[in-house]
């Protein structure tokens, strides 16, 4: 697969169809993958593809990265899950389909965190999203690398995240509250969750607004709670469960739980899952006379 990927990237750059290929390369010690931006066809050889390719590179397509945008039309190496974010960005008018060349990678799963890698991809080091993945064959792409896989996700989603949500849902409200207050107490307000999220593309985040100040920037319980809940609300109907926020969190806050819970709520209320179809607008930005009103009590 790596060879096909390199050849394609080289060809795209040589023909001038794209100016930069956003992909994965090795770090100096070749122990971890890291995002690379290839502009010279000769450097296409440094592209790699393996289960350590965890980053969701759709992040670099957002308007937060002006310097990358300035390089010219990009091609992006994307797994199915990353493509979901690209789709959301398109439905939200961030760019058009033709503005980006998607090199879709057929995927058999990645590691949850790179440091867990011991040379073999085993189910226990894969994140919940991979166990339930329905886009291992890229669903929107200009070029697909890899053989089609026959993997079918389980009918009822399984994995740690779903188990934990079930466990939390069965608890009384006070216990759930206590759980989240404890988890958020570790928050250091570094905003890595926001920075790594391709759907957090606001140029001025609400937490940076101080006239008036909506969210207290101090890492105390009130500030932490308002930040994390606000971010969760801003991702409702948009988050694709790519898991980057939880991976980037330096203090291990289980953000996947919140995001997956929200995905479940949106699915139930609007029968909508984000990231599949660029033509369908997410429920939070459209009005329909058929919208349920049963939340008004």
């Amino acid at each position: 697969m790596e060879n096909t990927l390199r050849q394609k990237a080289k060809g795209l750059l040589e023909s001038g169809e794209v100016k930069v290929v956003i992909g994965y390369g090795w770090n100096r010690a070749k122990t971890r993958t890291t995002p690379v931006f290839i502009t010279d066809p000769a450097e296409a050889e440094s592209l790699v593809w393996n289960p350590l390719c965890v980053n969701n590179l759709s992040l670099y397509l957002t308007r937060k990265f002006k310097e990358i945008k300035a390089l010219g039309r990009p091609a992006v190496v994307a797994k199915g899950c990353d493509i979901k974010n690209i789709v959301v960005l398109m439905t939200e008018g961030q760019f058009k389909r033709e503005d980006v060349f998607i090199i879709g990678m057929t995927c058999s799963g990645t590691v949850y965190r790179q440091e867990l890698w011991k040379g073999e991809l085993t189910p226990n080091i894969m994140p919940t999203k991979c166990h339930n993945c329905d886009v291992r064959n890229p669903h929107v792409a200009d070029f697909v690398v890899g053989e089609k896989t026959n993997f079918t996700p389980p009918e009822v989603p399984t994995g740690m995240v779903f188990d934990k949500i079930k466990e939390l849902d069965s608890k009384p409200q006070a216990d759930r509250w206590a759980f989240w207050v404890k988890e958020f107490s570790r928050c250091v307000k570094c905003y890595a969750c926001r920075q790594v999220c391709s759907l957090c593309y606001c140029e001025r985040c609400i937490t940076e607004k101080n006239m008036p100040q909506w969210i207290e920037t101090s890492a105390h319980p009130r500030g932490n709670l308002s930040w994390n809940l606000t971010r969760a609300m801003h991702l409702v109907g948009r988050c694709t469960f790519c898991g980057e926020c939880e991976r980037a969190c330096p203090v291990n806050i289980p953000l996947n739980l919140i995001n997956q819970k929200m995905i479940g709520v949106v699915k139930e209320a609007f029968d909508f899952k984000s990231g599949y179809d660029e033509k369908t607008h997410p429920p939070m930005i459209v009005f329909s006379p058929d919208d349920k009103e049963n939340f008004i009590k």
């Binding site: 770090n27 100096r28 995002p35 980053n55 988890e183 920075q195 207290e216 101090s218």
Partner: protein, 335 residues
Amino acid sequence: MADKILKKEKLGALIESVTGKGGRFVAPTTDAHQVVFKKIKSADEVAGDYILARNSFKEFLFPQTEVVAEFTMGKDSVDMRGVEVHAPQTVVFGARPCEAASLAGMRALFTWDFVDEFYTKREENTVVVTVGCTKGDDACFCTTVNLSPESTEGADVYLREAGDSYTVKVISEKGKKFLEAHAAVFGEGKAKEDALFMPEKIKEVDLAKVSARLKDKGHYDDPVWAKLTRKCIGCGACTFVCPTCRCFDMVDEGTAFEGERRKNWDSCQYDTFTLHASGHNPREHQHQRWRNRFMCKFHFYPEKFSSKGCVGCGRCIRVCPVRLDITEVMVEFSK
């Protein structure tokens, strides 16, 4: 003075001895699947198998958020009141030699043009007990910045793993007093020390060259900055776990009638860090912010305070979501 040892089974007694006198005992412990420095109460909480804690112990000297003043708004006046510095007697146990070496730079900054008592009082009341590393990983690079698991810079007491004991070396006056205060816990004797983990020195790095190149402002607009660091997403996680990063922001929080002035960690990796009220931002692009962090570590601190800006603990490398490796930039700037 005879050779001192600390039996590992006596760690509980040491904790009791410290906390019994009203002090806080801070050590690496496992929390939410990672080893972090926390205030602990018993020996079973102390993590045994770790390279180094995910966070640095700086938060016990310089908390993430702390109230430095309180205010009440009167009809045509503001009543501003200072607060007492909360500086409990503290023992930081199990820090690594690399991170302890960060203290000189911390003190230099917090006593530079203004003595920040919130920091100095706390540091004065803290005893740092380091333990030489017997484990490491590919992010460790202390030897590249002229430190090693044998360094004792910044430490008050230096321990070495030795089977079921630690060998004990007193480094500072504070350390000596610490041993005297808890004399019952320490024993006399010798023990065979376990082998240390020595990270391989990155031979392509030449700190003098890095420093010289940074001093010459010609590098400022070098496209190499953008090339090396364009993947940086500006999350600032590196600055939060870094033992030498110490930038902070002052915020007023509260209602229209009363509130608190807080000193919060800030990060030079945020665009708001240098954003002017006019809307102009002298560090508009992420690579410029990254350049600043690198210069702070390898030029500003060494030059201004003759102290280390980087101690080679490797936390920034481990925590980076895009694996931006500071040593790769050091290699580039050694050319």
